[in-house]
């Protein structure tokens, strides 16, 4: 097959050289923030006379930045909990019912992913002004939760698609009650999907910028909100330090997600060969 591959279609060397050039374009931005974050200058630049951790030190002692990080972390954790609970139950219900109506519900749940945040932001801004949730943690959590639930519904639905319904039948016919079946048979089998969904929901909330521009501002000042203001106003190298920190958090989460995905693939493979 490999020899066949050599003869296929276009010239391999040219295609791969082009592909890796584009990949370089993809990862360059992630790479440049590292040297910039350790610059010895006071302004945004490459290090000139040596490396310096001054911007990380500034970040770690700035009450504003730490406050925003803490703010974002709290909001993301609570949001994730709501998304996981609501999204998982919803996906299981839709999967088990699989009627026209429940399929409709599941399609409806996908809409927040494609509808631009700006459209939603206007509506939620108005609603929150009316009910007094503007600039509150509860308000931001709610808005992030409803836009994050779809990610959990998608990932859990994906693992349910690989789940053999006969396992559930077996549990029921062996005398397990409905809730026992859900707890002991369905949940352990969809765990990788649930965790992937949790990671997506967390990142969604942690990164979300557009909605918070509208519904938060003074008392709730999330990390993306502060970065947005800083990038637009003074382009301090401290943002590079924040960026490096964010990239490390992302890499850690990406590693977890890839492991989960591999496990999910393995699980469905063993099932299909069994």
């Amino acid at each position: 097959m490999e020899q066949l591959g050599q003869r296929l279609g276009l010239k391999r060397g040219v295609v791969f050289a082009a592909a890796w050039t584009i990949v370089l374009f993809l990862i360059t931005p992630a790479l440049v923030v590292f040297p910039v974050s350790v610059t010895d200058q006071r302004f945004l630049s490459m290090p000139e006379h040596g490396l310096s951790m001054q911007h990380f030190a500034k970040l770690m002692t700035s009450e504003d930045w730490l406050g925003s990080i803490w703010n974002s972390l709290q909001i993301a954790v609570v949001t994730t909990a709501i998304c996981v609970a609501g999204g998982t139950l919803c996906a299981v219900g839709c999967w088990r019912l699989s009627s026209r109506l429940s399929e409709g519900v599941r399609t409806l749940m996908l809409l927040p992913i494609v509808i631009p945040s700006i459209v939603y932001s206007l509506g939620i801004y108005r609603l929150f002004v009316d009910i007094g949730l503007i600039d509150t943690v509860a308000g931001v959590v709610l808005a992030h939760a409803v836009t994050g639930i779809p990610y959990v519904v998608i990932t859990v639905s994906a693992s349910l698609a690989n789940f053999d319904p006969r396992l559930e039948q077996a549990a029921r016919s062996l005398g397990a009650s409905l809730s026992q079946t859900v707890r002991r048979v369905i949940v352990p089998n969809i765990m990788p999907g649930v965790l992937s969904g949790a990671i997506f929901a967390f990142i969604h909330s942690w990164d979300e910028t557009v909605i918070v521009l509208f519904i938060a501002g003074r008392s709730v000042y999330t990390l993306p909100r502060r970065m947005w203001a800083d990038i637009n106003e003074n382009l301090d190298p401290i943002i590079a330090a924040v960026a490096v920190m964010l990239i490390f958090v992302t890499l850690a989460l990406l590693a977890v997600e890839l492991t989960l995905r591999a496990r999910r693939a393995r699980m469905s493979q063993t099932r299909s060969t069994a």
Partner: protein, 292 residues
């Protein structure tokens, strides 16, 4: 459908009724949350667009009469078309390499494509500003090499916005393109070669047509994502390139013209939904989003 098919008819009915209600109960919390805090606010936007400042379609008339609205829509369309075209071309090359790559290379390519997808959009926009601005790394590098005298204007214009958009979108193009290309039987290309087609003819007449559904699907998806862009154009455009999302933001946050903002938001929403409907005709949406 499954557990209920065994058992006595009456028992089955009772049980299936209870079971149905139980499963709807599972759906309820998410559904209620979404209806009250997602779909209701969306409906509110539609409502505002026809009631403020006064009832009627006056806001929609601005689509045809207001010069600044038309300029914004034109800028948005132009940038989205250009960015989508470039994104598709570059994404196609990566996806094509991925289907022909060995396992090791495939893993690295996948990793490098997924990595930017996971990095905060703000971090990416910030990094591009660092690279592209007039005293940024690219201009300094080129001046250091003596290739240019004056710094090039790479940001705070449409070029900068396009670079940022293409960079953001490539992973979204690669994933569906790759998913589609994986289903193509590469032996067909080999057969074409065996029958005397040159490498390019085999690609153009066999592989390319087979990958067309992926191209159309990914293309529409990219276009949908790009017309609602806010953060990237706002930062890389530096206020000089106004795309529709940022224009709406300005109407609401700065000049408080809710009617105009809501009208444009509605227009954006309708465009996205129409494109989604077109997309649904081409590909199985749920498969595109990876569930099922």
């Amino acid at each position: 459908m499954t557990a209920e098919t065994i058992g006595m008819p009456a028992q089955r009915l009772r049980r299936s009724l209870g079971t149905q209600q139980f499963y709807w109960l599972l759906i309820a919390p998410a559904l209620v949350l979404m209806l009250s805090f997602y779909f209701y606010p969306l409906a509110k936007v539609l409502w505002i667009s026809v009631t403020e400042p006064k009832p009627g379609l006056a806001n929609y008339a601005l689509l045809f009469t207001s010069e600044s609205v038309q300029r914004t829509l034109l800028t948005t369309t132009r940038l989205c078309v250009i960015a989508t075209a470039i994104t598709m071309l570059l994404g196609y090359v990566i996806a094509y390499a991925m289907v022909h790559a060995g396992e090791r290379q495939l893993r690295w390519l996948t990793f490098c494509v997924l990595l930017p997808l996971w990095i905060s959009v703000l971090v990416r926009a910030f990094a591009w500003v660092t690279l592209l601005r007039s005293n940024g790394l690219i201009n300094q590098g080129l001046q250091g090499l003596g290739l240019i005298g004056e710094p090039l204007t790479l940001v705070r214009n449409e070029l900068g916005v396009a670079i940022g958009m293409v960079h953001y979108m490539i992973p979204f193009a690669v994933l569906p393109l790759y998913a589609n290309m994986r289903t193509i039987d590469l032996r067909l290309v080999a057969a074409a070669r065996g029958l005397g087609a040159g490498p390019f003819a085999a690609f153009r007449r066999v592989f390319l047509p087979l990958s067309l559904p992926g191209i159309v699907g990914a293309g529409i998806l990219i276009f949908i994502f790009s017309i609602g862009f806010y953060v990237t154009p706002a930062i890389l455009g530096g206020g000089r390139v106004l795309m529709v999302a940022e224009y709406i933001g300005v109407q609401i946050l700065n000049v408080l013209r809710w009617g105009l903002g809501a009208m444009l938001a509605t227009t954006l929403l309708v465009s996205v939904l129409l494109l989604m409907a077109a997309l649904a005709r081409v590909v199985n949406l749920r498969r595109l989003f990876g569930s099922g």
